[in-house]
């Protein structure tokens, strides 16, 4: 069967994410857009994933628990897991490696995390936009050891991508690579290519997505489909 996924969404926890982007709202919008799988991937932080998990239980959406990690190269990578716990473990690890520079909400927006009723539980004070002190290779190891997917984000963008930072795509054991444009305008080697929305506002959820072939709309189904490249990215509209 074919299933539709968007694996790159920011909630109100990301400094650039709209405050309207509560986990519950994200799930509502994704259901309306007809998605089967959805990953929440806030910058360097996993603190909204519990509320996301809770919201997804009342829906037909399979939640994928992610973090968009900014490595020491300042390259963004989607790190995706089947359980909140695995993602939170990586989240703690990453937060401990962030330079202790406070966020300025006036300039970058708030970094709030919420409970399942959308009550604000707290605010992350350290800026989540920074590069964590971990190299791509070390991060890959941490993610793979925890059974996660490791997907360099928007590699065809002119900033904060592996390619924009390094000038080339290091040949590492990626689960897939994410592009903004399909067919790709850059060399994606033999990697499986996916397209996601990178939504920061409700109306952008699923504006880009991809379909994959699997027996079931689960993390395992997704994992196998990426490994076998049974994936159809979305053409640039």
């Amino acid at each position: 069967m074919k299933f539709r996924a968007d694996l790159h969404i920011h909630s109100c926890l990301s400094p650039c994410g709209s405050l309207e982007m509560s986990p519950a709202r994200i799930i509502t919008e994704a259901e309306a857009a007809g998605l089967d799988l959805l990953a929440l991937t806030d910058h360097n932080c996993a603190r909204n994933l519990r509320a996301f998990d809770h919201a997804a239980r009342k829906s037909n959406i399979t939640p994928i628990f992610g973090i968009e990690v900014n490595s020491i190269e300042e390259a963004h990578v989607l790190c995706l897991f089947p359980t909140v716990k695995q993602a939170e473990e990586l989240g703690d690890f990453i937060e401990n490696r962030l330079p202790q520079i406070p966020n300025n909400p006036d300039l970058f927006g708030d970094q709030v995390y919420v409970d399942e009723h959308e009550f604000i539980l707290g605010e992350v004070e350290v800026s989540l936009l920074q590069g964590a002190e971990i190299t791509l290779e070390e991060l890959l190891k941490e993610v793979k050891e925890r059974g996660g997917l490791f997907i360099p984000a928007h590699i065809d963008r002119p900033s904060f991508s592996v390619v924009s930072q390094l000038g080339f795509l290091p040949r590492l054991d990626y689960s897939a690579v994410e592009c903004v444009t399909w067919p790709p305008v850059i060399d994606t080697a033999d990697y499986c290519v996916i397209t996601d929305s990178d939504a920061h506002y409700p109306q952008d959820i699923a504006k880009r997505s991809f379909t994959f072939e699997a027996d079931s709309p689960t993390f395992e189904g997704l994992y196998d489909a990426l490994a076998a490249k049974r994936v159809t990215p979305q053409k640039r509209s």
Partner: protein, 111 residues
Amino acid sequence: MKTADIGKVLGYECLCSEGMEAEIVDGYTSDLLSDVMGNAPDSSVLITIQAHRNSVAVASLAGIRAIVLCNGRKAPEEMIEAAINEDIAIFRTSDNQFTTSWKIAGLLKKN
């Protein structure tokens, strides 16, 4: 000037002492490696805070002979190993990129 002068004259800490006799004729300061790859001159020293293995790969491609890591950035073991293989020296300083560039430009001018 020789690569070794960066350590000898400026007192910068040497993390990888390969290619100390190499002649350096120019320098390039950037923390965006794609920019380094496109614009760094041959036989130059790279002044940066990008302390990881991929900096060495880019330096090698661009014909850079030495890397100076600024703001006291630590070099991971894999970066030093890569530098040994590519014959690229690595130095470290607590100076920032501006000060380092200014000091190295002074050295290049004298030689």
